[in-house]
């Protein structure tokens, strides 16, 4: 029997998982923040990445899910999660909140992939602040990028699959 990872890497693309990531992210923002994520008109527009939160996936599906946005969006996410004003949000709280967002999106996504929930574990989140960095993923295929808008601000969710 092929693992979920073998199945997905056998395909030409990961496009079939895009709607699952979108729904997973929408549910997290709707239930935990009371905000709607929408799709941008220009899906190719670059997303600022002042804050990047990452969660590793291991087991039947190995890879990395990351959530990127700018500082303003990160502060608003944190403010909505905590129920406090944006100017009261500390950098530690911002990192914690974005880490939880990436954790919940990754968990919600894997629970939506049939048969994957039991066989895929999540790492604790890692959060990078600052935009002057590059990532080099030892992935088998290009990452699946999902661009969405949070309160008109762009956010980017990327899923890198390793085998």
């Amino acid at each position: 029997m092929k693992s979920a990872n073998q199945l997905i890497t056998a395909r030409d693309s990961h496009e079939s998982w895009r709607p699952l990531i979108e729904v997973a992210a929408r549910e997290v923002f709707e239930l935990m923040l009371g905000s709607q994520l929408t799709l941008p008109e220009n899906a190719a527009a670059p997303t600022p990445h002042d804050v990047t939160a990452m969660v590793g996936l291991a087991g039947q599906l190995c890879g990395l899910l990351s959530f990127c946005c700018d500082k303003k969006a990160a502060a608003l996410v944190t403010s909505k999660m905590l129920g406090v004003e944006q100017d009261k949000v500390s950098p530690t709280e911002m990192a914690d909140a974005l880490g939880e967002i990436s954790n919940m999106v990754a968990g919600n996504f894997k629970n939506k992939v049939s048969g994957l929930g039991d066989g895929c574990m999540l790492s604790p989140p890692t959060v990078i602040t600052g935009s002057d960095y590059s990532t080099y993923a030892l992935a088998d295929s290009p990452g699946l990028e999902v661009r969405m808008l949070f309160e008109s601000m762009p956010v980017l969710i990327t899923l890198q699959i390793h085998s």
Binding site: M81, M104, G107, N108, N111, D118
Partner: protein
């Protein structure tokens, strides 16, 4: 009657969200204590007794399942219901948690209504 609750999660933001959700669910809280992992929660239980424990699964040092299993040896935890709140939503995880001694299971992301549905019957002593 107001209750005392212990919220166990490695995310301080999530601990605050869980506390707020309990209040939004109409549960009166006399006292709320927080712990960042299972080991910290066990330490809190050495000195305090709670009416309800809400616990994440994936945490450093001691995870939620280990914590629930360890509660059988803690006097202050006897009869105290534990509700897991976690991103681990698979059936196997639910079965594992309930077998370990948890009374309820809430998947993240969640709403205050879902917290109410799980927690209120447990506090009322319903199976």
């Amino acid at each position: 009657m107001p209750i005392s609750a212990l919220i166990v999660d490695d995310s301080s933001v999530m601990r605050k969200i869980v506390e707020r959700s309990l209040r939004q669910a109409g549960i009166e809280l006399a006292k709320v204590s927080e712990a960042g992992n299972g080991a910290e929660a066990l330490a809190a239980l050495q000195e305090n007794k709670f009416d309800l424990i809400l616990c994440d699964i994936n945490m450093p040092v001691m995870d939620g399942l280990e914590f629930v299993k360890a509660l059988s040896g803690v006097d202050n935890a006897k009869g105290v219901p534990v509700v897991m709140i976690t991103t681990e939503g698979s059936e196997a995880h639910v079965v594992q948690a309930l077998s370990a001694g948890a009374r309820g299971y809430i998947r993240k992301p969640f709403t205050p209504e879902q917290v109410k549905e799980q927690v209120v019957p447990i506090l009322a002593g319903k199976p």
